[in-house]
């Protein structure tokens, strides 16, 4: 049997997640992220340097294809306006998705369930919550209207990945869910493990997931971060802003 490896470092997890997210992006598509989205920010910029030079990188500042000098910790930061040639309001960004013209949106959830539903609202009874969460921001409007949703979450444990969320903040066209251990793909409305990362094992993924998953020795393993991917990561985010999601 496989010995569970030591928990990978935050650096390893952040790099792997950024690269795996970038790999999922397609050249020429319109991609959007909102507030609190450092990994998607890095993934978009990395993808543009590698296989997706014509990707249209949109974000909640209203800019398009910005060329930030330094990456901000806030993904609504004016630094994300640098070199943009257009600037639109939040309303126009949501409209873009509403009419089916947004190809990919990045969203996250404090809880994510086996159906790809997310909870960003409350832990415990909604009206008397144990923990009031920030709220879903754009997710309830975007998840059903964007052509696909890429969910990401930097924590992978049984309390985060649950069979059924306590409150459905948003649900919609979830395509993939990227975690520090694996990539889930939504098939017939349920999350299935598409690939696990080189630094973990099927057992570790199963143990970390609060719903039944089919990871086993036959589950594909994602290619490790390549030299060119590493170079792109270093060029885009030399100061490791992406690590802030693991603080």
């Amino acid at each position: 049997m496989t010995v569970r490896p030591a928990l990978p470092s935050a650096e390893q997890q952040a790099d792997m997640m950024a690269v795996v997210l970038a790999r999922r992006l397609r050249d020429g598509e319109r991609v959007f992220h909102g507030v609190a989205s450092p990994l998607p920010m890095v993934a978009c910029l990395v993808a543009q340097r590698l296989h997706a030079p014509n990707l249209v990188y949109l974000n909640i500042t209203g800019s398009a294809n910005p060329v930030p000098e330094t990456l901000p910790a806030s993904t609504v930061d004016p630094r994300l306006l640098r070199e943009t040639r257009s600037l639109v309001t939040l309303a126009e960004l949501f409209d873009l998705s509403a009419r089916g013209e947004l190809d990919t949106v990045f969203l996250s959830g404090v809880q994510i369930d086996a159906g790809g539903r997310i909870n960003m609202s409350a832990i415990g009874p909604y009206d008397h919550p144990k923990v009031r969460l920030p709220g879903g921001a754009g997710s309830a409007a975007l998840m059903p209207t964007a052509r696909r949703t890429l969910l990401w979450r930097t924590k992978h444990d049984p309390r985060t990945f649950v069979e059924r969320v306590e409150f459905v903040t948003a649900v919609g066209n979830v395509d993939r869910v990227v975690t520090p251990l694996c990539v889930f793909k939504r098939v017939d409305g349920r999350l299935r493990v598409e690939e696990i990362y080189p630094y973990t094992t099927p057992e570790a993924v199963r143990a970390a997931t609060g719903f039944a998953v089919d990871a086993d020795e036959t589950t594909p393993v994602a290619p490790p971060v390549s030299d060119t991917e590493r170079a792109a990561l270093d060029a885009v985010d030399p100061h490791h802003v992406r690590l802030i999601e693991f603080a």
């Binding site: 909102g34 507030v35 609190a36 450092p38 909640i60 500042t61 209203g62 800019s63 910790a73 806030s74 993904t75 609504v76 930061d77 004016p78 306006l81 600037l87 309001t89 939040l90 309303a91 949501f94 998705s97 509403a98 009419r99 539903r117 609202s121 909604y126 008397h128 919550p129 144990k130 923990v131 009031r132 969460l133 920030p134 709220g135 879903g136 921001a137 754009g138 997710s139 309830a140 409007a141 975007l142 998840m143 059903p144 209207t145 409150f167 459905v168 903040t169 948003a170 649900v171 919609g172 802030i244 999601e245 603080a247």
Partner: protein, 272 residues
């Protein structure tokens, strides 16, 4: 148009307890914090705050008991400092009533108000428990019969927007992202502009395309240098990381928080 310049104290005094206030900006950026600080100083209460995505501004209003109700889609300090501690507490203890939105339903409600109609149909939202919790309705398109979610008009009593430049008539120029600032000005019954500096109207006339809010919608304009502090203002200053870190630390304990607010907000030197 008449000269609408006013001082912050008088303008805030004109806002009655119980009013609904829409705040400009987004998360850590260009919120009208000088105005918010003055609301706290004047101990306003029973206010409703309306915003898509907020951070320090709404957290402080919750922590100081100024707001009894919030219509918002996100309140947090992003990955910089995480959850909004006093906003959280206020809801968990039942002191603050939340009408939860998606950013787009805040926008839709404001659009209905700006367009003088009682509701606005909004795409998406299907399957979200927010629809039922916030009393949105699913209706039929009168032409096709297809279902669509409807959001009621959201008409703030007051919209407050902080901008980089405005003239004495209230014409407001915004550099960088406008967020929903023009929309909340259209949707609200009263519009108050705070700005980094008052400029001569002739400056705005050289390029009126850059004026985000026309003066004829504006009731008062207040010159408030660093008026978004401790949040950022594009082309002017970044958010104050040290101050916000101290705020978050203080917010973990009621007594420490009260002392922090006393020292940094109630003290009149705050905006200096």
């Amino acid at each position: 148009m008449r000269d609408k310049r006013a001082n912050l104290r008088d303008v805030v005094t004109s806002v009655p307890d119980g009013a609904s206030i829409a705040l400009g900006g987004n998360t850590l950026h260009r919120a009208p914090c000088a105005f918010v600080h003055e609301l706290v100083r004047q101990q306003k209460h029973s206010l409703t705050v309306i915003k898509t995505a907020a951070s320090y501004d709404v957290d402080l209003l919750a922590g100081t008991g100024c707001i009894a109700r919030a219509e918002v889609a996100f309140v947090g300090f992003e990955n910089v400092f995480g959850l909004a501690p006093r906003y959280r507490r206020a809801i968990e203890t039942g002191q603050l009533q939340l009408k939860e939105h998606a950013c787009y339903t805040v926008i839709s409600g404001l659009r209905a108000s700006a367009q003088g109609v009682p509701f606005m149909p909004v795409a998406g939202m299907f399957g979200s428990d927010v629809v039922a919790k916030s009393d949105f309705r699913t209706i039929e398109d009168p032409f096709t019969g297809h279902p669509v979610v409807a959001v009621p008009a959201l008409r703030p009593d007051v919209a407050v927007v902080h901008v980089q430049e405005a003239d004495a008539e209230g014409n407001a120029r915004i550099y960088g992202t406008r967020f929903e600032d023009a929309l909340i000005a259209q949707a609200a019954q009263r519009v108050i502009i705070t700005c980094e500096r008052i400029v001569d109207g002739s400056v705005l006339a050289t390029r009126p395309e850059l004026t985000a809010i026309p003066g004829y919608l504006v009731e008062a304009v207040v010159e408030a240098p660093r008026g978004a502090w401790p949040l950022s203002c594009a082309d002017e200053y970044d958010y104050d990381h040290e101050f916000l870190a101290a705020y978050i630390r203080a917010a973990q304990d009621d007594a420490v928080y009260a002392a922090f607010v006393e020292q940094h907000v109630l003290a009149p030197t705050v905006a200096a």
